[in-house]
Symmetry: none
Subunit: 204 residues, 4 copies
DNA sequence: CATGAATGAGTATTCATTCAT
DNA sequence: AATGAATGAATACTCATTCAT
């Protein structure tokens, strides 16, 4: 079990180790990441590493947890910066997908995580992201479709977030794509918008 | 390179080994599967195993190839047995999802494969399945929506097949689901049907 | 123990296998030569191979034995062709060394054998060669230095043949030579001639 | 890469491992030497062994390096002890050869190394030995033959050192010698002395 | 005699984890 | 608390040789 660091110095050490996990993961890949590599990269003895993390797995979990916060924050900042909540849903969605795919493509760490998401405690990252979208979507719907059945919303978000993430990550990671990236984004956008717009757009 | 089995006995041995791969995989998991375990389970010397499979990877590939055929066939049989092509799209989709999820849940081997599909040459299985759905969908659309834009169809199927598979597999594998299985299936079904129905039923 | 082939067909098979040993050795090197490779190259089943050769080692032995004859014959032919026995000793020796080194350098099989001579039953090749030189030298000395102590000759030839062979083979095979090839040949020649010329050339 | 031992304990461990290499080599032979054997013989875990030696080859290299120093030192001591530099060349040479052959014959490790020197990084041992002879020879020549052509000396030493080593080692290792050891030594000595004495003592 | 499918002992190397200092 | 030296189980793959057919 991981010991919870109370001291300032300890917290710094934990942070250093988690950063090191990211570095090693990005540089050597999940398969070639060893606890000793991490300790080296963190400038910490392997013994100390095991003082704070009882397990190799815990290292990765901690990284994902840490990333989760950062990613959510980044997404939030980006959404504010681009005034996303003023955009029509379709544009908002497309922008978000593009931003996400670009992030993974350009960030070696994110890419390596994407390449191995299934072996990782990915929900650490997935859940808050899902939460974030939910939070972000909530006011949107309240504003635009007051009488939209919120009940349904959770399931829809679950399905859409997972579908979009898994499909686009798989697309980025797979060798030979069978459709173009624009087609993918357009179709995903259409799918999401189709699901989130009011069931029968009224006047009918 | 894998030696191609010409003799009857050889073909039996290959089959026995592939079966053994499945057994070991189901029992010990992908990470703890050993070539020697497989040889033991097949009642075959490790040397013989390597006479027919040049690689550990080739063992898994062969299993997936073999499963791919079986799964496609089972799906086909199931679709015939249930008279699927006479059903309305919504029921057809729901039935297919239920059947697929049930298969994975009840079959330890399928479950283990699902848990690790990202590390496996999974397209071996995904592609024929996708193909199968496409073939199955084609006449459906021809019958019901003659002037449906086929152009779009490929991208839509790509997105839908991947989304449905990834999301439902993830659902089965994850620890604490946040929505019920019925909700999941209903939402996935709605998503698929929504995408595949003619764009604007309106003026029709 | 190797079975001695009496039949014509058997003798052909043995010959084919020995040739195959040479091929495989030249192509794959001693370390990567396997009995199955040899059997394949000979177009013979591995079982048949073991009918005539009880051992992997025996294969190599047989090759060396066979080569021994060929090399001795080649040397003889060469010596006749170049009218060697009419030449002064110094030129004869130099020519022989050059010819030998050239043979090894240009013949991949000879080179591979040279690279591994110590692990091989090299005497199979060394002895007849030594014999050959002795036979070749005998008349030379009888003609030129009637009262030369033949007693000594055997030891001298032993030392000279071994020294020349080992040193030049090592030279050919080593990575970074510290003297030039011409220096090597000149020095070896001088060494040999110095040893074989009458102890005190008389007038003193 | 081999970790450089800084601690006292580490240096001891490295020494113990190198000794173990020698033991295993002497007992089981080069072909049957195993990293695990060495670790066992050293009373060290296989993991520790690999902490200091990155490779099986490095083990042998380290042994040779270590032996190289010892052999050179022993030779030097021996030469001092026997007042070799006061001896006439002929006796000096004969003594050296006898001492060398005796060392190999009586030391199982040296014998095994001699039997396999071609596969070993033997220049580690050959070079310093050659150097040693050169250094030892230099003053000798300066004293006795001031105007001796040093130009030639390098090639001569190359040829003589290699010839003597290879031939005598081969003699020790071969099964059925065709000349007596005394004959061998006498002839080698004659060869060396003949080469190293001034070209034509005649008119001097 | 011929075949070639089958055998299985044997080996270098890695890496998560511990624990004496 | 920190260190890092030490551990040793675990694993894919080769190849000489056999023997049932």
């Amino acid at each position: 079990m991981r010991r919870i660091p109370r001291q300032q110095r300890s917290r710094e050490m934990v942070a250093r180790i988690i950063d090191a996990v990211g570095e090693v993961l990005a540089e050597r890949g999940l398969d070639n990441m060893t606890t000793n590599h991490v300790a080296d990269a963190a400038g910490v003895s392997i013994g100390s590493l095991y003082q704070y993390f009882s397990d190799k797995d815990e290292l990765v979990e901690a990284l994902l947890e840490s990333l989760s916060k950062r990613v959510t924050r980044d997404f939030h900042q980006q959404s504010v910066k681009l005034n996303m909540n003023t955009l029509p849903l379709r544009q908002l969605v497309e922008l978000a997908i593009r931003y996400g795919m670009q992030s993974i493509r350009t960030n070696p760490l994110m890419y390596e995580l994407a390449r191995n998401w299934q072996r990782l405690p990915f929900d650490r990252l997935l859940e808050p992201l899902s939460q974030f979208f939910q939070v972000m979507a909530q006011p949107y719907f309240l504003k635009n479709y007051q009488n939209y059945p919120v009940e349904n919303l959770q399931a829809k978000l679950y399905v859409l977030v997972h579908s979009t993430l898994f499909t686009s990550v798989h697309y980025l990671v797979q060798d030979v794509p069978t459709i173009s990236e624009d087609e993918l984004i357009a179709t995903l956008t259409e799918m999401i918008v189709g699901m989130l717009e009011p069931p029968a757009t009224g006047a009918g």
